[in-house]
Amino acid sequence: MPFDHKHLLGIEPLSKLDILTILDTAESFVEISTREVKKVPTLRGKTIVNLFFEPSTRTRCSFELAAKRLSADIVNFNKQFSSVVKGETLKDTVLNLEAMQSDAIIIRHACPGAPHYISAFCRSHIINAGDGAHEHPTQALLDAFTIRQKKKNLEGLKIVIVGDILHSRVARSNIFLLNKMGAEVVCVGPPALLPEEFKEFGIAFDYTLDRAIRGADVIMMLRIQLERQQKNLFPSIREYRDLFSLTPKRFRRAKRNAIIMHPGPINRGVEISANLVDSAKSVILQQVENGIAVRMAVLYLLLGGKERETTD
């Protein structure tokens, strides 16, 4: 039961029991956000740094609110207004923030492995909030939490992940997590966006959404990263939409009680029809709501106990 990690660098190093501990702990934090005074004193006196080198709405605000609802002090680092623009390195930036006695650093960076790199010389707990196309562990945890809310159990569910798997840290973290929890994962997308080496994870591939969606319990849509379009990994947005967009007609092939997920931000009308986003089958805003409880659980489990001599 004890969560014996100093950092949260990814889902890959976690055990099934670790994941269950985080999800069960998060259950207890949901209620706090429904109170009139949305705050408990648990992490009073702890200092947390939100170190975001990439833009973010959901993750940054969600971590900030999670920290505040646990009474921690949180500082937001903004790349454009920082000395990074004057050429300060990642290591120096982090060492300077640590000199201000931070207890935890939440980092998002375009380089895969950036959280692992800084964890090697930091005293603080490091939380990965997305590193390049590598991992985004808290997103996978809040996705799992949301699925569990709707489906009770992850084991045996058919979960279809659709879109740009190659560049998606959300997909990677979700694949690790869902595999550990015993769900059946099918990745769908154009061949150039489905990396062959992912087959080593024991998941299925399909290049046809109409076929893959049959019998699905959960459909997880990924954002099509329009900024990567210049690489020509698929011929055109229009073709992508014709083949892989989730439309009401396609969705009818899934199980009757299937749910639709999306990590955001959404391109309405590209990867998913706008009316499905707003339909009762969509749990997209529940994902956002649950994100706070899940991140509170992560902060609590890392910072709440005694300082432990553990290494990840």
Binding site: M1, P2, F3, D4, T21, D24, T25, E27, S28, F29, E31, I32, R35, E36, V37, K39, V40, P41, T42, L70, A297, Y300, L301, G304, G305, K306, E307, R308
Partner: protein, 184 residues
């Protein structure tokens, strides 16, 4: 480390009698039972709270709601804990504003649990009053806290452990004094 049972200070009958007397005291002191709510502290406070509610229902024919409080997030000894305590849910689905809260726990010891519970309750709203109900008061207070209803005062040494067992989760109703003994 083994546990040695030193004494069985209450059995099911004694617990039942104590609860009866305490419930009578509650009814006497709270003329307007309609503003009374019960909050049990996890874990055994919940079951004691439910029993009190049931007994008041039998005597006065009024249903007193029972909520569940988990105080883990309000503890003052986080940095001293070996690993984290598992947080469980707080389930209070009624408003505490302007209510007379009967706070229920099994054993009153240092008073730190009660301090945490009061902070937690006040974060939920401003109750009219908080009254404290404990089955056992074993002394050794570290904070200025006193119970309003006590089942039994039990002078103990700090090394001793007081264990309340309730049949809802422990199969039997009893109060034991135990002590850990080193294995030789």
């Amino acid at each position: 480390m083994d546990e040695k049972i030193k004494a069985r200070v209450m059995d099911a009958r004694k617990i039942k009698r104590a609860l009866h007397r305490m419930v009578t005291e509650i009814i006497e002191r709270n003329r307007d039972l309609s503003s009374l709510v019960i909050v049990g502290i996890r874990t055994r406070g919940i079951y004691l709270g439910k029993r009190v509610s049931k007994m008041i229902k039998e005597l006065e024919d009024i249903k007193i709601p029972v909520g569940v409080l988990d105080i883990t997030l309000y503890r003052d000894d986080f940095s001293e804990l070996e690993a984290q305590h598992m947080v469980k849910k707080t389930e209070i689905d009624f408003s505490v504003v302007d209510k007379e809260i009967l706070l229920v726990d099994d054993v009153l010891f240092t008073g730190r649990t009660i301090r945490a519970a009061m902070d937690s309750l006040i974060d939920l709203g401003r109750p009219k009053s908080i009254q404290l109900f404990v089955l056992i008061d074993r002394g050794h207070r570290e904070l200025p806290i006193k119970a309003d209803y006590v089942g039994k005062f039990l002078p103990t040494s700090k090394r001793e452990i007081v264990q309340v067992h309730l049949k809802e989760i422990d199969e039997t109703d009893e109060v034991l004094i135990t002590e850990s003994v080193e294995n030789t």
